[in-house]
Amino acid sequence: MNNRSTWSLPYFIFLVIFVVMPLLLVLFYAFQDGQGHFTFANILRFFSDSDSLATFALSIEVAIENTVICILLGYPLAWILANKEYNKSAVTVVLFILPMWINALMRTLATAELFSMLGVNLGKGTLLFGMVYDYLPFMIYPIYNILSKMDKSYSEAAQDLGASPVKVFFKVTLPLSMPGVWSGVLMVFMPTVSTFAISEFLTNNKIKLFGTIIQENINSSMWNYGAALAFVMLLIIGITKFIAEDEEVATEGPRK
């Protein structure tokens, strides 16, 4: 074993204990009945349980809605922040990133308190509000990053070739910033599918998301079914990641 691989050993051990083992455990429990026999029953139960399927569909719907709202709000904001004409100081950017430094649970609890103080009925509206509030910075930052690093000569070249400012945006700036949008999507969509704290606090558990039912199953010691649900969610996350990465490569072009 050479020197460099010796150095990587602690990280390797860390990964085995905290990533590989738990994943194997999830797999192990997901394909087992309570008595330790191998079975597909847990997975089949999910696909035949209309309640679980409905929750699953709702989670995906909420995640998509949240992602779309984050893009619609985040992209223009990132564009303004990256544009030196409108934003001359880096501090403004930090102000938008600042909420990320505070624990999401605390922010969500505070938001819930605020809603109850204002007498707002908790429901899907408040749920989406909380989600957008929590995840917006994760959308702004990657887009801002790519826009602020983009070579100005691309938009100058487009102008020079006859593109009006609007055309420059849709034909050059937007397509070139898609990798930023895709990493934003990865950072917003995937965590939203699995979140349970926001729905618990901001809807008083009136709306249950996929993360919520996993948590409930695990909490009530139904480990096998909970693990099967977690397995399904991992599959979804994996698929999203592959799609997003493909898009990222397609828009950025192959690297040299």
Partner: protein, 460 residues
């Protein structure tokens, strides 16, 4: 003479306190290959970007074919530009890059298709349509960038240091191709470069710029053979630049000898700058019937010729190029023919500063206080002019408290001393003759002895 296509009148531009362009006036004729050349920071790229519309001038007008386009946005101007690092759109392939402008103009598919193929043939990239622009070499990207800029059939093609990113051999090839293209298309080309050799090789007209001002406009031959000042002489090609005195018409004194020359119309005994190209000094082995002698200090083989540094009999160092090598240490005879001596007016004879009298012992200029003898007729707060000879300015390697400091901007070797310009933002530049070696960009302190400052009234 062909008609003027672009007219630039009194264009100035400044960023912050620095003047990038200072009252530029320029006529560009239709079909010309023009090159704007100058050291980095001379304002050449800004001038090109003002023509393209990517930068707005603070004052002055730009007109194209007689029409004022000063405030026309870039996307409406019938000019196209090849960018320094090409700026090819990475999300589009070669075909889509070239078709970009024509698609915006809503040209028909067929027309676009024909034109793209014609342009690819012109830049010798047939069959590269589907290639990803990132997979192309620098030279190929360059060709795509040129094809893309030509696709909209511009009236003028602007080139922003298009060859600077290529290696030497590639650059030479592309120069020839650009020249061919210019001949074939009959378009007006405006090229910007810091490479004086490229400027001379490519252009019909060369514009030499320095510090936001046009120094000289002329054919490559004019610029090389008849530089109008020592900056142009120094920037274009190798040259010996020397201090001289015009004795009378057709007679000039420099390096301690009198020479016949062909220049007339200078004042008697006027101090002048002399330029002699290194290939114009004749070097021979015999020592009689020559104008002066010298000792060879070094001799380097340069391929076609030898480059030698020779100390003349009066101690001036001269650069000489000749097909024959002369041994270092040998004494040689030297001859300069009258028509090879280029005599130029000095842009300045001495430093002059706007100064304010503080008391009978002190004046203030360059943002600092200097000790000197102030004639009695001046009272405190009078505005006066301070004169300081070039060789009376002391440069210090450190900056003294309360004394001015500046950066060395340009340096010319004058055979036995260096002539340099020390620049400080917002202040008059100081010209210095010194024997010490400084580098461009060095930070120096400025000191002037009290007896070397001469105070006169303002308008003198």
């Amino acid at each position: 003479m062909a008609e003027t296509i672009i007219k630039i009148e009194h264009v100035s531009k400044s960023y912050g306190r620095g003047n990038v362009l200072d009252d530029i006036n320029l006529d560009i004729r239709k079909g010309e290959f023009i090159t704007i050349v100058g050291p980095s920071g001379c304002g050449k790229t800004t001038l090109l970007r003002i023509i393209a519309g990517l930068v707005q001038a603070d004052s002055g007008t730009v007109s194209l074919g007689g029409k004022d386009i000063t405030s026309m946005p870039p996307y409406k101007r019938p000019l196209n530009m090849v960018f320094q690092r090409y700026a090819l759109f990475p999300h589009l392939n070669v075909y889509e890059n070239i078709a970009f402008g024509m698609k915006l103009q809503k040209k028909s598919e067929e027309e676009i298709d024909n034109k793209v193929r014609r342009l690819l043939k012109l830049v010798s990239l047939t069959d590269y349509e589907e290639r990803d622009v990132n997979s192309l070499s620098g030279g190929q990207q360059q060709r795509v960038a040129i094809a893309r800029a030509l696709a909209n059939s511009p009236q003028v093609l602007l080139l922003d240091e298009p060859l600077s990113a290529l290696d030497y051999k590639m650059r030479k090839d592309m120069q020839m191709e650009l020249k061919e293209m210019h001949k074939k298309l009959g378009l007006t080309f405006i090229n910007v470069t810091h490479d004086q050799e490229e400027a001379i090789t490519l252009s019909d007209t060369v514009i030499v710029m320095n510090e936001g001002k046009i120094q000289q406009i002329g054919t490559p031959e004019d610029i090389y053979n008849e530089p109008c000042n020592s900056f142009v002489a120094d920037f274009i090609g190798a040259s010996n630049i020397l201090d001289g005195t015009m004795i009378q018409d057709r007679k000039v004194n420099f390096i301690g000898h009198d020479f016949d020359c062909v220049d007339e119309g200078f004042a008697e005994n006027e101090p002048v700058d002399i330029v002699i190209r290194p290939e114009d000094i004749y070097i021979v082995n015999k020592l009689e019937s020559v104008q002066f002698t010298g000792v060879v200090k070094s001799c380097t083989f340069k391929g076609v010729h030898y480059e030698m540094f020779v100390d003349s009999d009066n101690g001036y160092e001269l650069m000489i190029q000749d097909y024959n090598a002369f041994e270092p240490g040998s004494t040689v005879g030297l001859i300069i023919k009258p028509q090879d001596i280029q005599v130029m007016h000095k842009y300045k004879m001495e430093n002059t500063f706007d100064a304010v009298v503080i008391d009978s012992q002190h004046v203030s200029f360059l943002g600092s206080e200097f000790e000197c003898t102030v004639p009695e007729r001046f009272k405190p707060d009078d505005k006066v002019t301070a004169h300081v000879a070039f060789d009376k300015v002391d440069l210090l390697d450190y900056c003294q408290d309360g004394k001015p400091e500046g950066k060395v901007r340009f340096i010319i070797y004058k055979g036995d001393h260096y002539h340099l310009k020390v620049y400080k933002r917002g202040q008059t530049s100081v010209y210095v003759d010194t024997n010490d070696v400084y580098d461009k960009g060095d930070l120096v302190g400025i000191n002037i002895a009290p007896e070397d400052i001469i105070i006169t009234a303002c308008d003198e």
